[in-house]
Amino acid sequence: MIITLVIICVLLVTVYSRESKGGLFHRLQRFSMDVVSPLQKGMSKVLSPVKDGIGFLVDMGKARGERNRLREEVKELEDKVNNLEEAARENEELKKMIAVKESNPQLDLVVVDVIGANPDIWEQTIQVGAGYDDGLQEYMAILSEDGSLVGRIIVCTANSSLVQLITDGKSSIGAKLQNNAEMGIAKGQGGGGVRLELRNQYAEVNKGDVVVTSGMGGTCPPDIPIGTITEISERSADLSIGILIEPRARLTRLEKVMVVVSPPPKTSPIEAEGGG
């Protein structure tokens, strides 16, 4: 029987292929389509919600793929934007550093990368990616990109150095008021602030006064901005007054800093000498 059926099929195919468009089988097909088309139209209307539902599900599947692709694209674009922003910020910092260099021709500055920070919350230090091999040595002053004092090197190895920030509790820097040259010592408070101890208890001091390095002690060159006075407390029984300085350098957002390699530090820090 199977052979008979196959032969009939082959005959049908042969006859159909050879007959013209107006042949019997072609006409039969057209007639059949005419007969069934109203039924198809009706069913199409009835089943349109089903079709829509399937289309919705298919679209959902496609949307998921599209969503994943777009997420990838957004991530790539975000990475690109981040890189560009990073480059722009770095460029801005370098411009500022060049300006600092030009305005301080007496200083020989070396730009170094900040490579880490001390995880110990009690020590305000950062690590820079340069050391003895790059011409650095202990007690050299570190400046931010805008030329403000960041701190100084306290440990120097061949390829990296540890920098004590001016806010560190053990930091003491020879300082003076910029407007009247009253001398004092800027001492770190360990929590992000710096306190100024003036030698002259009766010196005129006001909020907003700028404090710069005095150059005393020889570890920091003179006239490098430290910060601005933000708070002056009343005189205590020993006649001393508490003066708080807000550091000008953004000590929590340092990426590149400048090391003052020349003039080199002449003495050890202020703790040992009593002036810096």
């Binding site: 199977i2 059926l5 009939i8 042969t14 006859v15 159909y16 292929s17 089988f25 089943l47 079709k51």
Partner: protein, 166 residues
């Protein structure tokens, strides 16, 4: 008599579903081949002779109600129906997965047979061959076999019928 009636009722219902419902539940360009699934299911329940007959008439009606080359679907479905029925003798598992697997591969074979037939008659404007579409069709057909097989199984009457797949 009752058996013949069932044969024709299932055939006509499958044809109507193929012509009206199937295009409405298409996924992309893939329209399920209800007649093929019905052919294989009938063949698996009734054997090769009945499978070939069902495939022949189903394919012939499909060809008549379309603009395809008359006889090509009939040819492909006759063969698939016959060989599907032959498998009935060889598979003893009752797992429902078998009809789906047979429908899946039967769908692929049918499309290959159609392309072979079109090539033999020298049909010039035959559709471009896409295995992706064929695989999609095979998957879709296998899926609807899950529904169609039990339905046909209920109506198919045959004294010595043994329900091999449930």
């Amino acid at each position: 008599m009752h058996h013949r009636l069932t044969f024709f009722v299932i055939l006509i219902v499958a044809l109507l579903i193929q012509l009206t419902v199937a295009p409405e539940i298409s996924i992309g360009t893939v329209i399920p081949d209800v007649l093929l699934v019905a052919t294989i299911c009938w063949a698996l329940l009734e054997g090769p002779g009945q499978g070939a007959l069902f495939g022949f008439f189903g394919g012939l009606l499909e060809d008549i109600f379309s603009t395809a080359v008359l006889g090509v679907s009939a040819f492909a479905k006759t063969l698939i129906g016959y060989f599907g029925g032959e498998l009935r003798q060889r598979i003893v598992s009752k797992s429902v997965i078998w009809p789906m697997i047979i429908v899946f591969f039967g769908s692929i074979l049918q499309e290959l047979a159609k392309f072979a037939a079109w090539a033999m008659v020298g049909l010039e404007d035959r559709p471009p061959f896409s295995f992706g579409v064929i695989a999609g069709l095979a998957l879709y057909n296998a899926l609807i076999a899950l529904v169609i097989y039990p339905v046909i199984g209920r109506f198919a009457v045959r004294e010595e019928r043994v329900t091999l797949f449930q």
